[in-house]
Amino acid sequence: MRLRAFFQTLRAVLDEIFDESAYSRFLARRGMTSSATAYAEFLRETEQGRARRPRCC
C-alpha cells in the first residue's frame, strides 16, 4: 500500500515537473479535450511564464 502511494506521488511529481499537470489543469479550465490544437494553445499561454523562469546554477 505504501509502495503504491510512493509511486503515485512520484508520478505526480514527474507530471508537475514535466508540465503534464499544468496541461491537464489548462484543459479543465478551458473545458477542452487533449488535441494538437489544444496543446498548441497551452504552449502559447504558458510561453511567457516559462521564458521568464530562471534555471539555477
Binding site: F18, E20, S34, L43, A51, R53, C57
Partner: protein, 684 residues
C-alpha cells in the same frame, strides 16, 4: 513509537554523524571509503532537518497552518495552484539543481576532500537551507513576490535596485562560466560534439511528436528522446573513429565559443520553442536520472577516495585555481552549500504552489538538503580518481605545460604521481585523444562518474560510453541553463528599458528583442571569449568571479530575511540569518579583495595586469597582452562594482535595523493580510 525509543534513535544518529565526521577529518595517510561521506551527510541532514529546521519553523518563523497561502487565496489553475507538498518538493529541487553543485566540489577537491565536505555540510545546514526556507516563507506571506520586490518593500528603493543589478550581474557571469565549461568539455572531442549536435534533431523530433502525435505527453516523449540520445552516444563512437566524420565534429575552443554565442542569441531572439521546450524537458529528465543513478552507483560500489583529506594546495598555490583555502574553498562551492541564486527560485514559481505554510519547511529546507547531497556525490566522484589523474585533467597548460611528459613530470613533482602512459590509456578508454588541460570540472566529473558507473554496470568495456553519457548530460544541462538564462536576462533588461522608453519594454517588439538579446549575449559572450583565450584556462579567473556574484546575491537575500525577522519582532532569533550573512560577508569581501588587490599575479587581477605590462617589451605578440590586461582590469572592475553595490544594500539594511530596533521606525512588515484557510482540517 515511544519517546525513549525516539530519543535513542536520535542519539544513535548523532553518534553515527560524529563518528563519520571524525573518520573524515582525522584519517591521514590512508584512503577512506566514500560511504563515510555519505553517512556523515545523511546524519547531518537528518539532525539539521529534525532539530534545526523545526526550531526555525516553530520558534523563529512561527509557521501558521491555519493561514491561507496565495495558492489558495489566488488560485487560478495556472500560476497559483495548491499542490501536494512532495510534488512541490520535486518541482523545487528540479529547479534549483543545476551544474553548480556538480562542478564546484570537483574544483574544490584540489584542497582535498575534507574542506569542501565540511563546508558543504555546515554551509547547507546553517546557511543554504535556512536561506531557501526563510525566503520561500516570506514570499508565500507576500503573495509570491520576488526577491527584488521584497528588497524594495522591506529595505528600500536602493535595496530593490541593487538586488536587480546583482541578479543581472550574476546571470551574465554565470552564463559566461557555464558556456566555458561546455567549451572545455567538447573541444577536440568529436564524440562529445556529435552527441550534443544530435540533440538538436532529436529535440525537433520530440517537439513534433509532442505537438502532433501525443499532445501533452511530455514524460513519454522525454523517454523517447532519451532513447535516441543514448543511440547518438553509441553512434558517436563510430563518428570519432571515422577520419572523415571525426574531422567534421572536431572543434577548437574558439570555434565552439562562437557556435555557442550564436546558439545563445538564436535561442533568445528567435521563436525556436519547437527546439527549446523539448530540449528543456529532455535535460530535466536526464538530470534527474543521472542524479538518481549516481546516488545508487556510489552506494552500490562504495568506492575508496584516493585524494588525501588535505593537499599541499591549501596554501593557495593550487593549479586548478589559485587562492588560499579561506576564502576560496567557500567561494568555489556555492550551490552545494549556499547559493544566492536559489533565493530567486524560492521567490519565483515555488511559493505559488505551496498549499500550507508549514510545508515551506520541507520544500525550502528539505530540497536544499537534497541539492547539498548532490554536491557530496560530486566530491566523491572527483576524489575517487587518482590525484595525479585529477590534476592532469584539471590543470591548465599555462601551469603544467602542453606536452604530456612535462605535465606528468610537474604533477608528479607535486607529490601526485602519474604516468603519461596511464593518462594515454585513460584517454583511450574513454574515447578521447587526450584528457590533459580539460579545465572546468566537467571532464573530471565525467571521468569520476564513468568510473563509478562502469564498476557497477558494464565494466571497463563501457567506460567510454559512460564518460560520453556524463559529458552529454553536463553539456545538455548547461546549454539549457544558457538559453533559459539569456531569455531571463533579456526580459530583465527589457523591463528596465521599458521605464525609459515604452516600446523597448514590449516583449513582442522585434527591434527590442534583437537589441536586448544581443546585449545580454555580448555580455556573457565577452566573459566566455576571455576564458577561452586565457592561457590559465579561464576557470582560474571566472569561477571565483561567479562565486563572488552568487554569494553576494545570497547576502542580499539574507539582508532581506534579517530585516523582515526584525520587523516581525523576532530580533532574539535574528542570529539564524545574521550568522550566515556575516560569514558570507567575510568570505566574499575577503575573496574580492584578493581577486582585485592580491600581489600574487595568479590571484590578483591587477597584479596579473601589472605582470603582463612588464612583459610587453619582450612579448612576441604585444596585442594579446594588451587584451589580457584589459580583461584583468575589467574583471577587477566587475568584482569591485558588485562589492560596492552589496556594501550599499548592507549599509541600507543596517540603518533600517537600527531604526527598527531603536523604535524610530514602526516595525511593520508588508505581508498579505491574514486569511484563514478553508482547508484547516484536511491533508493536501
Amino acid at each position: 513509537m515511544s519517546k525513549i525509543v525516539r530519543f535513542l534513535i536520535w542519539i544513535a544518529v548523532a553518534a553515527g554523524g560524529a563518528l563519520s565526521i571524525a573518520v573524515i577529518a582525522l584519517r591521514r595517510g590512508e584512503s577512506i571509503n566514500a560511504m563515510w561521506l555519505v553517512v556523515a551527510a545523511g546524519c547531518c541532514y537528518s539532525l539539521g532537518y529534525r532539530f534545526y529546521s523545526k526550531f526555525l519553523a516553530t520558534k523563529v518563523l512561527v509557521l501558521d497552518p491555519l493561514r491561507a497561502t496565495p495558492a489558495e487565496r489566488l488560485e487560478n489553475g495556472r500560476d497559483f495552484v495548491r499542490t501536494n507538498k512532495w510534488v512541490v518538493f520535486g518541482h523545487h529541487f528540479a529547479a534549483i539543481a543545476g551544474p553548480g553543485p556538480l562542478v564546484g566540489p570537483v574544483l574544490a577537491a584540489q584542497f582535498g576532500y575534507l574542506p569542501g565536505t565540511l563546508w558543504i555540510l555546515a554551509g547547507a545546514v546553517f546557511g543554504g537551507c535556512v536561506q531557501d526556507f526563510v525566503i520561500l516563507l516570506f514570499s508565500v506571506r507576500r503573495d509570491g513576490k520576488s526577491l527584488t520586490e521584497m528588497a524594495r518593500e522591506e529595505i528600500g528603493k536602493v535595496g530593490g535596485f541593487i538586488a536587480y543589478v546583482s541578479i543581472l550581474g550574476i546571470i551574465v557571469i554565470l552564463l559566461g562560466v557555464a558556456a566555458l565549461i561546455v567549451v572545455n568539455a567538447l573541444k577536440g572531442s568529436p564524440w562529445g560534439a556529435f552527441t550534443i549536435a544530435m540533440t538538436i534533431p532529436i529535440a525537433l523530433l520530440m517537439g513534433l511528436y509532442l505537438r502532433r502525435i501525443r499532445p501533452g505527453k511530455v514524460f513519454e516523449t522525454s523517454i523517447l528522446g532519451f532513447a535516441l540520445v543514448m543511440l547518438a552516444i553509441v553512434g558517436g563512437q563510430s563518428v570519432s573513429q571515422s577520419p572523415t566524420w571525426a574531422h567534421w565534429f572536431t572543434f577548437t575552443a574558439p570555434t565552439l565559443a562562437i557556435v555557442i554565442i550564436i546558439y545563445g542569441f538564436a535561442a533568445s531572439a528567435l521563436p525556436v520553442w519547437l527546439l527549446l521546450a523539448p530540449r528543456d524537458y529532455l535535460s530535466t529528465f536526464v538530470k534527474l536520472g543521472v542524479i538518481s543513478l549516481l546516488a545508487a552507483g556510489i552506494v552500490l560500489v562504495h568506492p575508496q577516495l584516493h585524494m588525501p583529506a588535505l593537499t599541499r594546495f591549501i596554501d593557495g598555490t593550487g593549479p586548478v585555481f589559485a587562492g588560499n583555502i579561506f576564502p576560496f574553498a567557500f567561494l568555489t562551492i556555492a550551490c552545494g552549500a549556499i547559493s544566492g541564486f536559489h533565493s530567486l527560485i524560492s521567490s519565483g514559481t515555488t511559493p505559488k504552489l505551496i498549499a500550507r505554510e508549514t510545508e515551506t519547511r520541507l520544500v525550502g529546507y528539505g530540497a536544499m538538503m537534497a541539492e547539498s547531497l548532490v554536491a557530496i556525490m560530486a566530491m566523491i566522484a572527483a576524489c575517487t580518481m587518482q590525484p595525479g589523474v585529477y590534476f592532469a585533467i584539471n590543470s591548465p597548460a599555462g601551469i603544467v605545460g602542453v606536452a604530456p611528459e612535462t605535465a606528468v613530470s610537474t604533477i608528479s613533482n607535486w607529490g601526485f604521481p602519474v604516468l603519461a602512459s596511464d593518462m594515454a590509456a585513460l584517454a583511450h578508454s574513454v574515447g578521447e585523444q587526450t584528457l590533459y588541460n580539460r579545465t572546468g570540472g566537467a571532464p573530471a566529473f565525467a571521468v569520476g562518474m564513468a568510473q563509478i558507473f562502469s564498476r557497477s554496470l558494464g565494466g571497463d568495456a563501457v567506460l567510454a560510453i559512460w564518460y560520453h553519457f556524463a559529458i552529454m548530460f553536463e553539456a545538455l544541462f548547461i546549454l539549457t541553463v544558457l538559453d533559459a538564462g539569456t531569455r531571463v536576462g533579456r526580459f530583465m533588461v527589457q523591463d528596465a528599458l521599458g521605464h525609459w522608453w515604452k516600446p523597448l519594454g514590449r516583449t513582442s517588439w522585434y527591434p527590442s528583442i534583437l537589441s536586448t538579446s544581443a546585449l545580454i549575449v555580448a555580455a556573457w559572450g565577452y566573459f566566455l571569449w576571455q576564458g577561452v583565450k586565457d592561457p590559465l584556462g579561464g576557470i582560474n579567473s571566472l569561477w571565483p568571479l561567479f562565486g563572488i556574484a552568487n554569494q553576494l546575491l545570497a547576502i542580499v537575500a539574507l539582508c532581506v530575511a534579517t530585516t523582515i525577522l526584525l520587523k516581525m519582532g523576532r530580533s532574539r532569533y535574528a542570529v539564524v540569518t545574521l550568522a550566515p550573512l556575516w560569514a558570507l560577508v567575510g568570505v566574499t569581501f575577503t575573496a574580492s579583495w584578493h581577486k582585485i588587490f592580491d600581489p600574487n599575479p595568479r590571484i590578483g587581477f591587477l597584479a596579473h595586469a601589472r605582470q603582463l605590462a612588464s612583459q610587453m617589451a619582450t612579448a612576441p605578440k604585444p596585442g594579446d597582452l594588451v587584451r589580457f590586461m584589459l580583461n584583468d582590469r575589467l574583471d577587477a572592475a566587475v568584482a569591485a562594482f558588485l562589492v560596492c553595490l552589496v556594501s550599499l544594500i548592507l549599509l541600507e539594511s543596517i540603518l533600517e535595523w537600527v531604526r527598527v530596533l531603536s523604535g524610530r521606525k514602526a516595525a511593520r512588515v508588508k505581508e498579505a493580510q491574514f486569511v484563514a484557510t478553508r482547508f484547516a482540517a484536511e491533508e493536501v
